[in-house]
Symmetry: C2
Subunit: 599 residues, 2 copies
């Protein structure tokens, strides 16, 4: 059975040694108490809960799945009890406003906790995960009454939340949505329509579910400018806050799907359900963007989760499984065969997982600091530049980390050989669970258009520069550091090439808009490799400094340096292919008539 | 529900227009009757059976899976009846010896039929597929008595076969196998041991199952030199050929696995089962190699199958699904949104599937002609060179086509967006079913070691030259063909680089054997891209000639040219990354101590 051990040492490395989170929290108002010791204490508790309660339920969730009977969803054995413990531990309230019952800790700590919970059991983690989306939306756009009624219950964890966007005929293209909201005399609305792919749409874990629903007012303009946002509770709250009668919203069915079986993916039917407007009329999509950025970072985290889970279990197997001898002759002559970790290609796969898991962690924690700054910084300039940088990095983190997370999960299957295909080992579940991450919260293709079309080209490249100047600064600062040249040299070259490629594509796009779509995914993946190269460069620097100081933990820091080297020599050259293909133009995609695709 | 339409036009293109199969059959003794008309007639019948009988059972097989109760395996609804029809149609006997009841058609026609059957329903196709393995083994190594008793029944399809190699502690490393064979006074053997991962190991589709089993004689030398091969029937045949009493072999359980649910993957227990030696004592593994090459080509075909299935269904969806407008403005203004086929990135994914499916078909049919020559040619020189070339191409076809088949299946999920993750659309099943192909019959890593270590380097590069000289000849012949220079130029460069890289790695390997394993998978994938580039070059040439002749079917040939161009501009540049990584040396993999992988 697969296992999970929270990688606290590596988390501490990124938080404290690389990103200097202590200083970061000292600079943020209200976060001064978040000392490394306090953060450690929280994470140790979180690690115990994730390892002991959630991880053992991961396979159970996959095998049992959710059940749908008589209009009600039942979650897999143990899910409900685990959620009860989670609520009792106060976890839902960690990074939410004290005013509404939260603990007021910075979002970045919440994200680290989400990593532990999500790696241990992604399907389970989506129940509280979707609640965060609902909480953030109400916190930002709701009225005080709405906060009092709904937010407090979500923060306490008594109720959970969902986000209801997609309809059968529209996913990416929300402008086409049809769900209607009819204004009522009492100021409420009657919501009618069908939503699909609603994660955690119904379940038996909490006494009420707060749906955040996109719908259209009777006189709303067509397209995305006519969408409003509503709160629709499963049970109408009574004046005292207790759960009242059932509202007109129900689960019609649950989807049979490739993975994340432990999470209920629901068709939700709204039949004159009572709803309450959040924010201004027809501004629903603007309100959603707040949520979407957080949600995209949360999904980026899923990539890290599957890479980490895949790596941990592949490593155990690679050390235990005896098969063939090293090409150099027996490495463990006392055993009937060598453990497969002696084989270069098995190591290549393990190091690929390791490089993406640890690099992904660095990227998400780097972004998490930006989230904190956007939310809490009192320095307007700092806040603005954090916001721009986060907007640039979010589509990269989302798409690149989920693509590489899937790749890493898939390497897990390959390392296990035929056993990887068998369910009991858990590696194939890891692939199936990870596959959704490249689809929901905007596919890889959509992230790529957001990055290249909306962020980089619409800002005339300024968005890109917000990051390349950081890389440039790092390369300059380490220009004389001889031992780091194997990283700094290639990084500086790529950083320059990135700008040149952007300029070139931008010029082409002025002639033909299809050039954006034709280059976008290759451009995003290229960007991801360079971003991770920067972070691996920084991690290598820390490791080098620690080794020079001789502070102990030598094996850990050497392992970091090895992995950085592996990343630069074995992964980063993928940019050589991407640089060519992204420049190859739209013609090789668009010249063929739609009708000529079939023979 | 997903659909399948046998791509007869494309099959005819490869067989007749590109590979001139008519001439090929005319040159082979006994194959003169296989005219294009006759082959067409066979394939049209095969197409009907595959489209109408097998394809509709593909999802049924996945959803129901095989059931194991009271020691017996039940296949999904309709599987048994389909097999009955298959036998009545005479399909099992197509490419087997007339002497034992076969139709004596060349193996290459059997392989095309396997494509149709396998694409329609891979899980189902494995039942007759494994029989072919058993048939080929007995045909090549069995005694006349064994052929009379077993081969005739396998060829008629009354019985099916299996290959029993893997044991719990040994898959790749067959030298460790423990199953025992005790000689009996009557010349038979008593076989005892446990085999796992036995595809089609038990089922309800045929009255008897013939297991081909690897086992060890009491006095056998250790390792691979002490393995012998046995026939072990499920029911002992009586003197008249009818099925007699039950033998001591039974299915212990079936595996729960990621995909191919319709095929029973069995644990087989041999408990003093009566078996009969095939071939010489202790030469079992040599006999297996015959089977393995065919089996590897058969598995390569699985890559093509999932790419083709993914492409066909993705294309239907991409034409129907309306979502967003073209970046250039509405392409279909009368519709509420454009079909997603207008988006460059969707086309990139579709063309990737198309390029791998059609390129894969060209590669397998190219290899199939070599199989025919090895088996039937009377020209000793031709036979020898076909054998060498086939030995070189087999690991490439197996690993490269299954890797790209998985990639293509995965693009299918991506093209469907969120719906790709939902079972009813069939795209996620295509990914799950395809995943096993990179594992069984030797993982990608094993194929890569076979290619680089055993084939290329052990022959001092001669094995590679058997193919590069063909590419060189093609490039020379088309050197003055202006319109083909976009293909011939890059191909000639790559063909040269391929040799240079091989030389360089060979030199490194002389210093350190780990250099072989460190370069092998990148080397294999690089080789695959170049092999497909050669075949796409040849297909482009045919298309160009046909267009010049103006023989009609213009859209088809233009589509071929477009796809060739796409392949060269968007896929082939992946060699730029692989050329770098394969040269990066073993150090970035081997320098880290086994114990330093975990933090």
């Amino acid at each position: 059975m697969p296992e999970y051990k929270a990688p606290l040492r590596d988390i501490q490395f990124v938080l404290n040694e690389m990103l200097d989170n202590e200083q970061h929290y000292q600079n943020l108002p209200g976060c001064e108490d978040a000392t490394p010791d306090m953060v450690s204490a929280i994470l140790e508790e979180g690690a115990k809960f994730s390892e002991r309660v959630l991880a053992p339920l991961n396979q159970v969730g996959d095998q049992q799945g959710c059940q749908f009977n008589d209009g009600e969803v039942t979650t897999p054995e143990g899910f409900k009890e685990a959620y009860q413990q989670f609520v009792e531990g106060g976890w839902p309230s960690l990074a939410h406003a004290t005013e509404w019952g939260g603990q007021g800790l910075p979002e970045s700590i919440g994200l680290v906790m989400n990593e532990l919970v999500g790696t241990a059991n992604w399907s389970w983690s989506m129940y509280p995960g979707l609640s965060h989306g609902a909480m953030n939306t109400i916190e930002e756009h709701g009225s005080d009454d709405q906060k009092q009624t709904y937010l407090t219950k979500l923060i306490s964890g008594e109720w959970t939340g969902t986000m209801c966007l997609t309809e059968p005929h529209c996913g990416t293209d929300l402008g086409m949505l049809r769900t209607k909201a009819e204004p009522q005399a009492d100021g409420s609305y009657q919501i009618s329509g069908t939503k699909i792919f609603i994660s955690a749409g119904d379940h038996d874990m909490a006494e009420n579910i707060v749906h955040i629903v996109l719908a259209r007012l009777p006189d709303a303009p067509a397209g995305t400018k006519g969408i409003s946002l509503f709160i629709v509770p499963k049970f109408n709250p009574q004046a005292d806050g207790a759960v009242g009668d059932r509202n007109g919203v129900s689960c019609g069915s649950i989807e049979h799907k490739m993975g994340i079986h432990g999470n209920a993916t629901c068709v939700m039917n709204f039949d004159n359900a009572t709803g309450y407007l959040i924010g201004a009329e027809n501004k629903g999509l603007n309100c959603m963007f707040t949520f979407m950025n957080t949600a995209r970072l949360g999904t980026a985290l899923q990539g890290l989760a599957h890479a980490e889970w895949g790596y941990q279990n592949s490593l155990i197997y690679a050390r235990e499984r005896l098969q063939m001898r090293s090409l150099k002759g027996p490495a463990y002559p006392d055993k009937p065969a060598d453990p497969i970790i002696v084989h270069p290609d098995v190591r290549r796969m393990l190091l690929t997982q390791k490089a993406f898991a640890e690099g992904g962690r660095a990227l998400i924690y780097f972004c998490a600091q930006l989230v904190d700054k956007v939310k809490l910084s009192t320095d307007v300039e700092e806040q603005k530049s954090a916001d721009e940088l986060l907007a640039f990095l979010t589509p990269i983190a989302k798409a690149f980390l989920t693509e590489t997370g899937f790749e890493s999960a898939n390497q897990g299957v390959q390392i296990f050989g035929g056993h990887g295909f068998i369910s009991e080992w858990g590696m194939e579940q890891n692939v199936r669970d990870s596959r959704i991450s490249m689809l929901y919260e905007g596919t890889t293709g959509i992230q790529a258009l957001d990055l290249l079309g909306r962020k980089v080209l619409m800002s005339q490249g300024e968005s890109l520069k917000s990051f390349t100047k950081i890389v440039h600064k790092f390369c300059q600062a380490e220009a004389e550091n001889d031992a780091l040249q194997e990283f700094v040299g290639p990084l500086a070259d790529l950083n320059k090439e990135w700008g040149d490629l952007t300029m070139k594509i931008g010029m082409q796009a002025m002639q033909d808009r299809d050039e954006v779509g034709a280059a976008s995914v290759d451009y995003l993946m290229y960007s991801g490799y360079v971003v991770l190269a920067y972070l691996w460069g920084r991690m290598a620097l820390v490791a080098q400094q620690k080794l020079a100081e001789g502070t102990g933990d030598k094996a850990f820091y050497e392992s970091k340096l090895h992995t950085a080297r592996f990343y630069y020599q074995r992964i980063l050259p993928r940019t050589r292919a991407l640089a060519v293909t992204m420049q190859s133009g739209a013609d090789n995609l668009m010249a063929m008539g739609d009708e000529h695709f079939s023979s």
